[in-house]
């Protein structure tokens, strides 16, 4: 009997999202994926724009990770004939990546990544992305590296689109037809609720 990759992923999804990474255990709700975690906050200062609402961006990223479902069928819309399932949670790779950021910071004389000066953190992230051989911003988190996953999650969001165009386009919101003919108003804040 053969087992397709899709079936295998579905079976994998039945296993609790709990793995051993060295001495650390990761599952949904892991403290290091809380939006206020110092390492994540320090990472956001490096990879997200100063104009963005980093706190909101981190909260949205943490919520995304917490609500990720392994083995879910993905879109197979018009022109896409292969049915695929979502893979393992990207967060499975994060503990080791965060540990490596901390180790690199300690190697550079800081107590931790969060305690390192901004320039040093930037250099550490640049080296980590290079080591991970990541060339493109992911459309969604993939586990390639938490730094680029956080960037991909934010920069592909409706909030980042508004930031880029300096306008409240609200791409992913249901807005009604009234006023469609007018240019969007000025941007107000990141990550407002979807209507």
């Amino acid at each position: 009997m053969t087992v397709s990759r899709r079936d295998a992923l579905k079976k994998l999804a039945a296993v609790p999202a709990l793995i051993e990474v060295g001495s650390s255990r990761l599952q949904a709700g892991d403290p290091r994926l809380q939006a206020g975690d110092p390492t994540l906050v320090a990472l956001a200062e490096v990879v997200l724009p100063a104009e963005s609402d980093r706190k909101a961006a981190l909260a949205a990223f943490a919520a995304w990770i917490a609500n990720y479902k392994e083995g879910a069928d993905t879109d197979h819309g018009y022109g896409v004939t292969r049915v695929r399932a979502t893979g393992p949670s990207p967060a499975r790779t994060y503990p080791a990546q965060i540990a490596a950021l901390d180790a690199a910071a300690r190697g550079a004389g800081a107590a931790s990544f969060a305690a390192a000066p901004l320039d040093r953190r930037r250099a550490i992230v640049e080296a980590a992305v290079a080591d991970a051989k990541i060339e493109r911003l992911p459309a969604r988190p993939t586990g390639g590296h938490i730094a680029t996953d956080l960037m991909g999650h934010y920069f592909n969001s409706s909030a980042a689109n508004d930031l880029c165009y300096r306008a409240a386009i609200n791409r992913d919101a249901c807005r009604g037809l009234a006023g469609s003919e007018n240019p969007p108003g000025p941007r107000t804040s990141d990550f407002g609720p979807r209507r």
Binding site: D75, G79, T81, V83, R136, Y165, I169, D172, S180, P183
Partner: protein
Amino acid sequence: MIFESDVCIIGGGVSAAMLAEKLSELKPGLAVTIVEAGSRIFDVENRARYRERSLEYGENAWPGDFIDDQAGAGVISRTMAVGGSALHWGGVTNRFSEEDLTLKSRYGLAVDWPIAWADLERHYCEAERRLGVSGEPGPLPEDRRSEPYPMAPMPLSYNLRVLKEWADKSGIPFQGTPQAKNTRPYGGRAACMRCNTCEICPTGARYSPDFTYKDLLAAGKITLHDQTLVRRLVKSPNGRRIESAQAVSRARNGEAVEYRAKTFVLASGYAWSPHLLLLSEAANSSGLVGRYMNGHAFIGAQIELDAKLYPGMNEQHSLISRKYFRCAPGGPFVRHDLRVWESSAGRDPRLKDAAGTLLLGDALLADWRARTARGAARVRAYYDVHPSVESALTLDPARKNRWGDPLPSIRHVLDEATVARKPSTREHILAVFNQLAKANDGRVLNVNEGGYLDHPAGGCRMGTDPKTSVCDSYGRTHDHENLFVVGSPTLPTAGCTNGTLTFVAVTLRSAARIADP
């Protein structure tokens, strides 16, 4: 189990929905059974959540809308559910033009359809009423209509207004595309909320056939058997009639089900209708079942222009020009539609700049803003291509479903005339793109050509001669007096614009004959 009805419709997509609705009006009390291999996904209350999951995680916005082992090679949609591909269609409802029906007599190409334009136009109006189409009359006299659109057009977003001003400068007339989307409450469904995700419309403003099925079921006008795969049609001893359809219930572990009916209608789309006929060795005295598989080819481009745009306002809506639906007899043959969308494709945020430097935080944002300071439009032309008889759906003995039935394999082959004019067609379309670009100090950033035929159709083409066609203009097969094929498989050629409205119009035209065979 054995079920009997007056009309047994095999396939539960948009054509079947429209046909069943009209049959129930033409002949109240007619016993109509619809048999669909896929499941019914009627939980409209969950669509907002499905939309969220689709946006956030790329999850299937129509959970369960496919069958694992029911997939063919060259079939471009996996969707197999009550509602079919029209569950997640874009709702674009362009009409073909009179030229599509008269290619042979006007240009000496392909074949003429056995339908007069005025007849089809009447059924276009009916299809627009039933689907609920919003639109505006076109600027060209050739596109005159006998009835107004049922609803006012979708307002052009700010972006499309800017793009229309830009496009109009080129001298090519544009209008908003007509769409099966409500601009006011219509058909028991809400007005569009501009959610920008028409493939999963959370409000039901974009038509999908599940609404029709639910209404018909609630009124007791149809019987719907979903999760039931028809495997064979059984002919009468003399071969002139279809006596039954042999099926298996997927919901009941493959239990055998037999359908008996006075009339059978195949409404399973371009892939599964000819597939069932080939499996059944039915309707094929011409040898043309599964032949003349068609669709239209396409070329697209990204054009940068001197305008401030805000991508994300309503990416699903577009402009269309029908200017090139016509070409003068005697001149070079090239027919295509021309569409314009707001677009950010190719200008998305990027991790590395052109020199390969990693961009983080503010640097990435600055790079993104610099690359999007000017606006961009996506343009595309669907162009008219014609199939060869070798353009075929065949049974693939190497790939079978769990019941042991070979699955379909589609290989599109264009006729010699189409292949010969391809370079000049391409040259013409690129010249049109450049004309658009130059109209506002723009430039073509990139060009892409489709590797497949879109809006596929054919496989049971209609015609008057039983030697060169599978069915007549009403879809009645030449070989079996009580077997009809409706919708996309019957089209001899696929035009140069979206096909769904035409599939529905030809189906509605067949309804009276099916009601009173």
